[in-house]
Amino acid sequence: MTTQTASTNQEPLKAKDFATDQDVRWCPGCGDYSILKQVQTVMAEIGLDKDNTAVISGIGCSSRFPYYMDTYGMHSIHGRAPAFASGLRMANRDLSIWLVTGDGDGFSIGGNHMLHILRRNVNINLLLFNNQIYGLTKGQYSPTSELNKRTKSTPMGSIDRPVNPCAFAIGSNATFIARAMDRDTKHLKTILHRADQHHGTSFTEIYQNCNIFNDGAFFAFTDKATKPLTTVFLEHGQPLVFGTERNKGVVFNGMRPKVVDLGSGEYSENDLWIHDETDIFKATMLTRFFDDPSEESALPRPFGVLYAVDEPCYEDMMFEQLDQAIEEKGDGDLDDLIAGPRTWVI
């Protein structure tokens, strides 16, 4: 999402200026704290005007977010934040609008709205806090939980297959798809900046640890020891390199991606997949890098901007049509409208 920035004659705001006086009530150690801090920092860095910023959320742990942001905000109803945010955007093109949702809010009860905001490309920053669990209702499996997850509602293990959020986004014709994690704050900030610069719906999936009900869900990706082996950080125009010594890469083996060892002499960086965030085919494949990291041949999980293209956004086209209608028919006259085309006198 692109945004307007604050007028320059004021003292620049700091991250803490975006915090409210309300006590933050997430559980101690929750990954949400880190995300809150980074969002406040990025808003200050962008130079947003608090009075021209709105944070809209649904229901769930992550959806408490607006109460902690000293901007305009709405804590709406379960799953529907995309619809509220879209309506607000259609009413006001100048606001910076941030939408905060979770895996249950965004992909279970609100799955329909997620599909439609993405395909419409409404100019909004959509942050999906994915912790693969229902936290606020105290620990049931979520639509992103892995198969066979044992929770209070699934004592013998869950039997529904998980949704892949980035693949869903690409299937919905999203124009910006990124992935970040709560524990890599520097990278998260970079991605939030990129998301904000995108004109249209920016979809950012953030892996977030729920230390109470699903602790360690993403440790394979976030832990220092395993992170280099399980993740690949994408950069536009750069090869897909990862590994402790940056000694691994991804190549195309025919039509399929394959992990190769750069140390053996068989492959060099020149042979690798070069990331092109504007390439829908490559991006589609990247969303399918979704293996269980514990598997031997697992592809690394991609972080960064998987896909970003410029497409017209919904409200711009809506306003264009309004202008066009006035150009073609003239500014509507109320008396003409009320009288209609056929009248008679008695």
Binding site: P82, M90, L95, L322
Partner: protein, 613 residues
């Protein structure tokens, strides 16, 4: 042979044919021609539920009814005097509603073997010649044949030629009712300006139908209906759904707020979405949402953003919007939810009319959730009523449920429309920007208990709103028990307080006190007017009162009801308003109820009223 011209006070005609026979267009054109003669009128279409049911079948019959006369016309008519039957199925579907001795104008070409079989006439018996229509006056017109003959020289294909046959019937009716063809020719000229062959064919067939009446000696009677004693002024025809569109745009202009309409297609409310989307040059933003829930939620988002936000639906959609409606109520944002009622429950009778969502509108939400309810009574009344719904929403910072039904939305009547300068402005109170950096109190209230509308983008007013219970004034989340009770009562008192800002309940016709009051809401207006007019002329002490404001009720309603020995409430439901009135005023009101997907007939209500007198 000279035809004599007979004068009639009122006539009801039903145009009936196959969905593809152009009955809605014929009916519409006959209506505008009728309006120009100065007659009063009321119309109602009767669509099949299927979009394209097989041609010639009972399920495919489409109808249009018009009641017009030289006196005040209140309803489209219980029965009709004339039935235009374009095929056998149209006759079979409608014959029971034709009055005894009425006239059938039948297209004999629509009664061939195939049509008779599709209409399921036993053993292919043709009602036109088996004597079963002996009690009626039967006018047989070989419409299809004559249409084709008229167009022998036309370059059109046979299918296109046959599409003109509704014009033959229309032309014949114009002859029968002593009308000029001018208005219809003007309309056709506009409609087919880019298709000169089609235009020429339609006009030729229209004239042929007229001339057929003029030159065929079989038809010796013509009729004339004089102008009705309508108030002087400039009129237009108006359908209920159209009146809502105009009322909404008027409210937008008079409040200075851009209009946002979020909706999901649903019969019979889609007409409003279509209507508004044609008026983008009035700054109207329409949003076809992905579902009913997104429709109301996007509207709430737009309301938060400072727009006049509306969502429209029918009963099943209102059920889906319930949770979000509760949010709009607790947020205290202006919003109008339009409910064009249809037969329920569940999918029910989508193309039929009913008034069975009143209790849903009043109570169909979780928690203590008071919301004003406003109702339209006639197609033209919908203009003022929707304007009032917008005024109350904006000035009292509350969602409002606006009730109409299929009968009002699809019905039409002449409307002496106002000049825009005669319509009052709607003043809006936005919270002004703050420069001093003090904490803003989003839920501080004025003497009417109304909070101010603080729109994102306003300097110094950044604040959070949400569905959790709020602390008074600050709006911060609060689980305090006493605060919850206080806020519940404040929200209730705010809505009840609207009674101070609406007109007192008036009697439509009849005495202020007497033996019987017939109390109506919604589309029963016409039938009650008709019945009370009759009873008054017979010397009974009867009056009619019609509710526009159902929540809150006008302040004087209780006293007004107590001025009558009996109160009768006719409704197209099992007695929903009656139960609200009983509950509120502890009055033993009587009910008349009909739940058949069709409006209450004058004869039915007259009978029910007379039993109480």
């Amino acid at each position: 042979m000279k035809t004599d011209v007979k004068t009639r006070k009122a006539v009801t005609i039903k145009f009936a044919g196959d969905s593809g026979d152009g009955m809605q267009l014929s009916g519409g054109l006959f209506t505008s021609s009728t309006a120009l003669t100065g007659s009063d009128l009321a119309t109602f279409p009767d669509f099949p539920a299927e979009i394209r049911a097989p041609a010639g079948t009972i399920a495919g019959v489409s109808g249009f009814q018009i009641h017009f006369g030289s006196q005040k016309i209140f309803t489209p008519g219980d029965t009709f005097d004339v039935l235009v039957a374009m095929n056998a199925a149209a006759l079979k579907t409608n014959i029971d509603t034709l009055r005894e001795g009425g006239t059938i104008i039948a297209n004999t070409d629509g009664f061939d073997k195939k049509n008779l079989r599709l209409a399921k006439y036993e053993n292919g018996a043709n009602p036109l010649d088996d004597g079963s229509l002996a009690g009626y006056q039967l006018l047989e017109l070989p419409v299809t044949k004559m249409t084709r003959e008229t167009l022998t020289d036309s370059p059109l294909g046979l299918k296109e030629k046959d599409r003109c046959k509704n014009m033959f019937v229309l032309g014949f009716l114009f002859w029968r009712y002593s009308r000029s063809l001018q208005d219809t020719i003007e309309f056709l000229t506009g409609k087919f300006s880019k298709k000169p062959d089609v235009l020429e064919a339609n006009i030729k067939v229209l004239q042929a139908g007229y001339n057929f009446g003029d030159t065929t000696e079989t038809f010796t009677s013509r009729y004339e209906i004089k102008a009705a004693p309508l108030e002087k002024g400039t009129y237009r025809g108006i359908m209920g759904s159209e009146a809502i569109v105009l009322g909404l745009i008027t409210a937008s202009k008079k409040s200075g707020l851009p209009l946002f309409y979020g909706s999901y297609p649903i019969t019979p409310a889609s007409e409003i979405l279509h209507g508004l989307s044609r008026h983008k040059n009035y700054g109207v933003k329409t949003f076809q949402a992905e579902d009913e829930i997104a429709a109301i939620c996007s509207s709430i988002g737009a309301a938060y953003g400072g727009h006049l936000a509306i969502t429209g639906t029918s009963g099943p959609g209102l059920a889906l919007k319930g949770e979000a409606l509760g949010l709009a109520m607790i947020l205290e944002l202006p919003l109008v939810v339009i409910n064009i009622q249809r037969g329920g429950p569940s999918t029910g009778l989508p193309t039929k009319t009913e008034q069975s969502d009143l209790l849903q509108a009043m109570y169909g939400r979780n928690g203590e959730c008071p919301i004003p309810v406003i109702s339209a009574s006639t197609p033209a009344d919908a203009f003022e009523a929707i304007f009032e719904a917008c005024r109350i929403a904006i000035q009292h910072m509350t969602p409002v449920v606006f009730m109409s039904d299929g009968f009002i939305s699809n019905g039409s009547e002449p409307w002496k429309f106002p000049k825009s300068s005669e319509i009052p402005d709607i003043t809006v109170q936005f919270a002004p920007p703050k420069e001093n950096g003090d904490t803003y109190l989003p839920y501080a209230r004025d003497e009417r208990l109304v909070r101010k509308w603080a729109v994102p983008g306003t300097k110094g007013l950044a604040h959070r709103i949400g569905g959790l219970e709020k602390e008074a004034e600050t709006g911060n989340v609060s689980y305090d028990p006493a605060n919850h009770e206080y806020m519940t009562k404040i929200r209730e008192a705010k809505v009840e307080g609207i009674a101070e800002f609406i007109p007192e309940q008036a009697i439509e016709i009849g005495p202020e006190e007497g033996d019987l009051l017939i109390l109506g809401w919604g589309s029963s207006y016409g039938v009650i007017q008709s019945v009370v007019t009759t009873l008054l002329s017979e010397g009974h002490s009867v009056a009619h009162a019609q509710l526009r404001y159902i929540r809150p009720f006008p302040k004087n309603l209780g006293n007004l009801l107590k001025g009558f020995k009996q109160v009768l409430i006719p409704e197209m439901n099992t007695g929903q308003l009656a139960s609200i009135i009983r509950n509120k005023f502890l009055l033993d009101v009587k009910q008349y109820n009909k739940i058949q997907g069709t409006p209450i007939a004058t004869s039915e209500l007259l009978h029910a009223a007379k039993e109480l007198l």
